[in-house]
Subunit: 337 residues, 4 copies
């Protein structure tokens, strides 16, 4: 079913949580028409994969096929694992389809990517990709053909740090103690996500060595050595808070700095008290609090890992790429209580 | 700020969870304009009461005053405790304001109400009030001036039972084992809602004697003695499932009966497997599953206690009272995952 | 390491939750010596399987072998899946080893077992097995060589129902609406136990058809048709409550009936208000509450699914089989708060 | 009821969670006899305050009275708020009763105490009090008459830091990002502990300014300015993890350093992978993990906030003060799963 007055878009990778979130927004979007939904097997409908969509959206899910995408869509969201994604990006761009890639494949310079992930097979498109953090690259996103949607941890950490990078004392550590809900680990079954192991529990994982650390360092223009990043899994479905510690100099009011920095950014809110996870759950907001004690600055930055950390940020990017207001169809009503 | 092309409405009782849910829907409603928000003290803004609304809605919250309501609104939602509500209903109706009352004050005949609650001071309006379960009373709601919005437990229990009442063996018990999330107990502090007492725990409360039992009996036209209703508190924020057991006769397919009964009701979904809480969280859907073993019929009926069990059902009722499609501005995208 | 003054016992199936609970009690037991721990692979230690035992018990876990068991143990606890268990029971009994079997293999008469599970290959030992519910069969357990440890749901349901079976109106339904924590589903990975699917959620499973229903019916001497049993999964690690509804006649005080019935049973407690899960978590207690409205009797019966529903009841049985006080080494301090 | 062969002890402040934990251990203690239980009102029994103790301990709870304590007990545990505690300590010591004080009243030098708490009215006893962290002060505790039981956060932070203080680069920040379960906030009702506000949520509180920061600094012999401490509330009943970040120099294996440092301390366990909360819940263990990246050292230190963070550490101290093995009656079996 074509819809003449809207722009046709597609979602590849509809099985996972980020695929679901994309579909939830796109079926309500006034200017996009979701004409194509795919996963690796096809042969089903979106409500069979996600029964909460029963009676709301029962569209067919196809087996992912690049030619069909190119025929059906002007823009495609790729909600795929890294390495899988780049195999789609190259041909799609060649066929003139714009891409918002939610994987890690185009977020990093080739050398860093290959050090932390795997060999890169599409170096050419790395040259012009835009890192899709609107507060950092809004203008470039508007004219991009390929946007690399940021990782969830980098989004929360970078948004918290950006206002203070020029106040930071050089060569002092950037410490990011992050807490994430379990949906960030995806639907894959593992001991780590078994209810009994997570409920009433909490633990760090991949301390200091997580692959989002080089992404944070790269976008902040600091070295990997300067960033100490430790994620923790918490018994929460969705939500992500980065508790950030840096050393700063100069005389300033921490909250005023954040307010001034983001005065034109509708999706960042400054909070007068420490942020929580619920107030941003289900939305694209990043809530930021900051407080200082001597040289030490504590920043608390909260996002929904599936929304601002993935899918709603992807739709913001698509809005910008297609010339729409960036808030179009972006949820601002939180899952509270 | 008046909005000429929309109908002005008000919310009284903005502090609680149901007040928040009403506001969340009404600020997105295409035909209603939320011109009046009040609680018992006033002197604040809605985002101070509910910080998730920062940057989304920062409207003033006034001290509740009937004259101001009457000047400002064509319809008022009362999200107040029982007994408090009826003191507003009477003068509002006299001043020509339509009312959706979310309290228990107008749900029951006077004698039953007074047996389970307190003396009733507005018997006159009890004569024409309409019980606001659209699947039961849609046509009457359309012309009502006063709608009594159903209780949360009655909504889930009655919707589950209605399709089977003519198949039930007379004089056999109707057993409703209900499970509710903690938001149903409201924001009031009590030992029962202290995190440490609820987390990793579960218990029944008010077994057989809860005040929602006579409401269920009354609307199903059975005696209070025939209904055995036991609610349980579960460690969940929002959600409500009624597990219902009745004895039936005749030859029928249980799911087909539900499908046929609700074939014209967009907010009831029939499920091929036992329902859960998440798939309806944040929406007005009631999901129903049913299964039979001999004479025994098991029905599982799930709603969001704050939405279908209170606020979204209230907006559906207001939509009908004002001549709009009942789905207008009613959320259908669940809080999943 | 032999311990001359103690009775040597073994645990087969040390990987799972019930295996862990057995080990936790047996290493503190004053009269038993845990000389043998096994699972299907061996080649590890118990603290590698269960890191909470680091520094507490680091015993070797062997590959399960019947000859070694017989040489090493006077009594063996089998914490194995059904069907696997009976292959061990037969040779162990032949070699003179007493067995407490935590599986379903010896809980039911052969015909019922085969209708709900699989063909039975050890009919001979079914003839003399004792169903290990101490409140029902204490004397028989004392002289048993093989005890079938009851299922978790049957334990909670039967203990709640026993005091009232002579007051029940004949041929009226026995309705058991049960709620269980997730550890009851074991360590196996499945969508059903993924944190994101269970947290803030609740659902029924196998309604009316669960394999514990025939066990309940058999031990209560009623027909399978009379029992309507529906389990629900709740977002809790451990705990199980059966909410039971039966019709009764005669004049009695419900709590007094329970008190009188269990006056000699130290592991059943009568509660003056509805029971919860936490107060019995980690213990062998069954807490029971009952309340009546006319003919309808509501019974709420709470146990820890891994303890009274499996492992601590197994140790009680072993205590009785070996002539010790049944409370020996049985935890009575709950996991509260 | 006196018990000739045991030492009589008392618990004052039996209403709260730490009071409950003390009672749970003391009624199982082979050498202590719990002869005296009190709270501020008296007139009840311990199982009425904590129904999990029904049938286990139903001792009378008296109104706290110093003369009765002195007559009845050789040692008293004070589980009272700060300021209240010191009013008991002074007279008890004068009457020859030994005291383990779980409040903050004797943990700090007078000037620091008064800067963060309130005026101190018992300066004299501050001179000889021993800070009850056994790994730091074991010998002094053995001969102490008054032991100040450490705060929960300081316990977890100090135990994690102690092995590395001589490797830390001077004047670099000590960053402690702590996560605590809700029982740490006590039984008092507040919005912060309402289930709906904590469940599926997480937030920092009192960032950089919490009163446990000066306690940490004092015991580590660093200035308050050097310590940046931010606690976070997590949706967990019990458990506490300190994620610690310091800069170090020299060549060493982080885990080996911890192992060597605590080689004689049975209640500290070194973990080869990041620690979690469950493996220590219900025990006196502190589990520690450490990992290095260049100059940055990450330490993860986990305790049960009510046990090692309060009550079991208090009983360890009492064991030492009375000449018993410090492990006597100290739980080592975790609440897992």
């Amino acid at each position: 079913m074509q819809n003449k007055s809207k722009i046709n878009v597609g979602v590849v990778g509809a099985t996972g949580y980020t695929g679901l979130e994309l579909v939830k927004m796109l079926i309500k979007h006034p200017f996009f028409h979701l004409t194509y939904i795919a996963n690796s097997e096809g042969g089903t409908t979106i409500n069979k994969l996600h029964p909460s969509l029963n009676g709301v959206c029962e569209d067919v899910v196809q087996k992912a096929d690049i030619d069909t995408m190119a025929l059906t869509c002007k823009l495609v969201f790729l909600a795929l694992p890294h390495k899988t994604a780049m195999a789609y990006v190259k041909p799609l761009l060649e066929k003139g389809v714009k891409v918002v890639d939610l994987s890690a494949d185009y977020r990093l310079p080739q050398d860093i990517y290959e050090a932390f992930y795997c060999p890169h097979t599409d170096a050419k498109n790395l040259e012009h990709v835009v890192y899709g953090l609107p507060e950092l690259n809004r203008e470039a996103i508007k004219s991009a053909k390929l946007v690399a949607n940021p990782g969830c941890f980098p989004t929360s950490a970078i948004l918290g740090l950006l206002p203070f990078m020029d106040k930071r004392i050089e060569n002092t550590p950037i410490i990011i103690d992050a807490k994430t809900g379990v949906s960030g680990a995806g639907k894959k079954l593992s001991e780590v996500t078994h209810f009994v192991n997570v409920n009433d529990n909490l633990f760090a994982y991949n301390p200091l060595l997580h692959r989002h650390a080089p992404e944070i360092a790269d976008k902040l223009n600091v070295s990997f050595d300067e960033v100490s990043f430790v994620p923790h899994l918490v018994p929460v479905n969705r939500g992500m808070i980065s508790s950030i510690y840096i050393q700063v100099s100069g005389d300033f009011d921490a909250l005023d700095v954040v307010k001034e920095f983001y005065k034109n950014d509708v999706h960042v809110r400054v909070s007068a008290s420490p942020v929580d996870m619920k107030n941003v759950a289900g939305t694209n907001f990043c809530d930021i609090y900051a407080q200082r004690k001597g040289k030490m600055l504590f920043i608390s930055s909260s996002i929904d890992n599936l929304m601002r950390g993935a899918s709603s940020q992807a739709v913001v990017n698509a809005n910008l790429m297609m010339g729409f207001d960036e808030t179009t169809a972006i949820p601002d009503i939180a899952y509270v209580p």
